[in-house]
Amino acid sequence: MLLSVRDLRIDFQVSREERFSAVNGVSFDLPERTTLALVGESGSGKSVTALSILGLLPRPVAHVAAESRILFNGENLLGLDEAALRARRGKEMAIIFQEPMSSLNPVFSIGAQLVEGLQLHLGFSRRQARTRALELLAEVGIPNPRGRLDDYPHQLSGGQQQRVMIAMAISCQPRLLIADEPTTALDVTIQRQILDLIADLQQRLSMAVLFITHDLALVGEIATEVVVMKQGEVREAGPLRQIFDAPRDAYTRALLACRPPLGARPRRLRVIEDFMGASPPAQAPMVRRRGSSPEDEIVLDVRHLDKNFMVHEGLWRRRPFRAVKDASLRLARGKTVGIVGESGSGKTTLGLTIAGLLQADGGDILFSGNNLRDPGAMDPMALKRRIQIVFQNPYASLNPRFTVGHILTEPMLLHGIGRNDAERTALARELLRRVGLPQDALQRYPHEFSGGQRQRIAIARCLTVKPEILICDESVSALDVSVQAQVLNLLQDLQDEFHMSYLFISHDLAVVHYMSDQVLVMHEGEVVESGDADEVYAHPQHAYTRKLLSAIPKGI
């Protein structure tokens, strides 16, 4: 057994009196040459567990219980001092993190950063280290390694940066590689490449890999053993097949069920409560019909929209960067158009331009008989009232200095809804109830709520002005899968109730398919394919769409 974790307990000192238990009695085994996945949502303690193996916990605030053991090769890592740990870190065990850009030092070339580790741990000379660095870059699939060795991190794409991080991690041929959400920040096609690379290296270098992720679907692609964690405890552990085919724990079953399935479209997504409650869900979820028909009433008609950004070149020169090129879409009342694409595809820019937060450079936006490109076409306040937007990051989209009551009543005040404060507060209270938040939320501040609750507040804020069109810009991407399902259910319910039209923007292909009647696939500012959601997913016409769809992790 290469790594055995026994009864790991880690507390964090939050303040002088308060302690927070992050990991509570976790045990698992990782044999040599195996890949074990630690799966859990945010706050499950999976990353803290990984950091404790490397001895990278913040010393003064983290307390590891005395009876905990982390046996690496039969040696208790928790008993080692800093110098002994340092000798093992990087050499026998290595880690790659989620954000490659912030894990690489921006002021050193990637060559220098690779060479440093080789000289330190293996005692190579500079020349030897550079030769080895070239081999490593070739091994992780960086094209033209000789030309890239002296590049700086910002000159590489996100996927290439992660490849360099992997090259650094495997440079001393460690026996254990810890990958902490290594693909979460990457696009789905790049994620596929990195997963393949890690699996390939694991085989060739006969390493053990501890793969940490929140995404059960990814686990099926890479791991042979799975440990499911929740709130610092192991809920279920076992071989991959068993976890997927016969999950014993209710939480594992819930995690597997709450992702939108690609094949079918249930009326509501299953949520954690369906499984964790006393009785199993009684009725089978009904099927929701999606798709468009010619007699739909079109509320928004975007034609040949262009949006350019000016990029500074040198001191004086400016060059237009075409973020959105010739994009067209038609949105019907009560329907959803999904926009899917990878980062940099222009999908967010398209959404912001339609919302009126950016000025278009060409084309027409026809909305209830007005062309929004004409400056005098429509009163800007009336327009803002009818088109609203929910942003991605629920932690950033609410003003931290405002109470929830203030956040909800401000739009009503601006648009003259409600005769007085009492009436507006009553309306806010009603909306809070509608999005499923407690009434006392009005007096509280955003930081007191979880991510999912904050996103509900952001949705309630949009509902205060009763919009006809709601633009959801990656609105569920930052949420845990179980919370994601709840918010998606809420959005569907609200659509049924208020007959709003949604523009649903996301990089997550499964979520977009679940929510949309029609989809637009965007790539480098262009709409490469559009049509009925089921049709596009079943019979993709464009090569890029096919590439995207084939990169979706399928579970097993």
Binding site: Q392, A396, S397, N399, R401, T403, L414, D440, Y445, V465
Partner: protein, 343 residues
């Protein structure tokens, strides 16, 4: 309806953190004591009579001395002899007659001097003013100048930084140019230039000088905060709701930068108290009929040659304690307000 209890806002949480900081609380108490003294002096309840010559020239600082006055040791002056029409040296005082008439008319106006004390708790200055009273009156001037100038500078810097950072582009370029000009000129040179333009000495002039030159630091930080915040989603969301530019700038973003502004304000108060002292020391500060710590140090220049150290010690110590306490309070405030601890 159930009674809803408001959650602690950011300021409440910051106050709770500050309360736990023992050094910060001590500094706060010291600063509050100073402010209380300033308030008393401002109302005219203490140190109003700092110009009274209560002691002998350069009365030494003695705490325990008997209440003695120097009149006992002074040879008695015979006023009658002075006004005697019979001349001492065969000369007659030409004004003697008028003097006698005036004295007869105003018997109350006694020429006899008020008794002067031989020693004072913190000593006396060249004219016998009580140094203790002077320090109190001086602290009123110095702290008020520091506070008002810091408020002015912070207000200027905040408004300019907000406008520059929020609107960006050519507006930002314009303000940055102004900032560049102000920071490129050596500080004292700039101060002298503005003093020369304003043409008069006085507390108001001093406040204007410090305020007009001291906004640059606040401007730089507030501008950076606005650059950061204007692209945050909550500001975008406010825009999508139809909030005006002014509303987004001052109702949405400003509270989120207030911790930076408060710390800058606090730092500026310390800086300007020191600047006032330096300027008064150099003779560009308060006029002669006003006492400040700076003017006291200025006087101490000459006194030191005579070995009269007490005015220097008193003003220096008063300033050192306040500046130290204020700096520590600034640090504690920064720690208490650091939103990274919370979010």
């Amino acid at each position: 309806m159930a009674v809803e209890r408001a959650s602690p806002g950011l300021w409440m949480l910051a106050w709770r953190r500050l309360r736990r900081d023992r050094v910060g609380m001590t500094a706060l108490v010291v600063v509050m004591c100073y402010l209380f003294v300033v308030f008393l002096a401002l109302m005219g309840w203490v140190a109003q009579d700092w110009t009274r010559e209560v002691g002998v020239n350069y009365a030494p600082p003695v705490f325990w001395a008997e209440d003695q006055d120097e009149t006992a040791q002074r040879p008695a002056v015979d006023h009658a002899a002075l006004t005697d029409p019979v001349p001492l040296y065969g000369l007659q005082d030409p004004l003697a007659r008028e003097l006698a008439a005036i004295r007869a008319e105003h018997p109350a106006a006694d020429l006899a001097e008020a008794p002067r004390r031989l020693s004072l708790p913190l000593g006396g200055d060249k004219w016998g003013h009580d140094v203790w009273t002077k320090v109190i009156k001086g602290s009123e001037t110095s702290i008020l100048v520091g506070l008002v100038a810091a408020l002015l500078a912070t207000l200027l810097g905040t408004v300019m930084g907000a406008v520059a950072g929020y609107f960006g582009r050519w507006v930002d370029d314009g303000f940055n140019w102004l900032y560049g000009v102000f920071t490129a000129i050596p500080y004292l040179l700039l101060v002298f230039a503005i003093a020369a333009v304003l043409q008069q000495k006085g507390v108001v002039t001093l406040v204007l000088i410090l305020g007009l030159t001291g906004w640059t630091g606040v401007f730089r930080l507030v501008r950076a905060e606005y650059l950061k915040h204007k692209t945050r989603e909550y500001v975008l969301a406010a825009g999508a709701m139809g909030a005006s530019h002014a509303r987004r700038m001052f109702i949405h973003i400003l509270p989120n930068t207030s911790h930076v502004i408060l710390v800058q304000l606090s730092q500026n108060v310390v800086g300007f108290i020191k600047s006032e002292v330096i300027l008064s020391f150099l003779g560009f500060g308060v006029p002669v009929d006003v006492v400040s710590w700076g003017s006291m140090l200025n006087e101490a220049q000459n006194e030191l040659i005579l070995g009269k150290w007490w005015q220097l010690a008193a003003a220096g110590l008063a300033m050192a304690i306040l500046v130290t306490a204020f700096s520590m309070l600034t640090d504690a405030l920064r720690d208490a307000l650091d939103p990274k601890l919370k979010y």
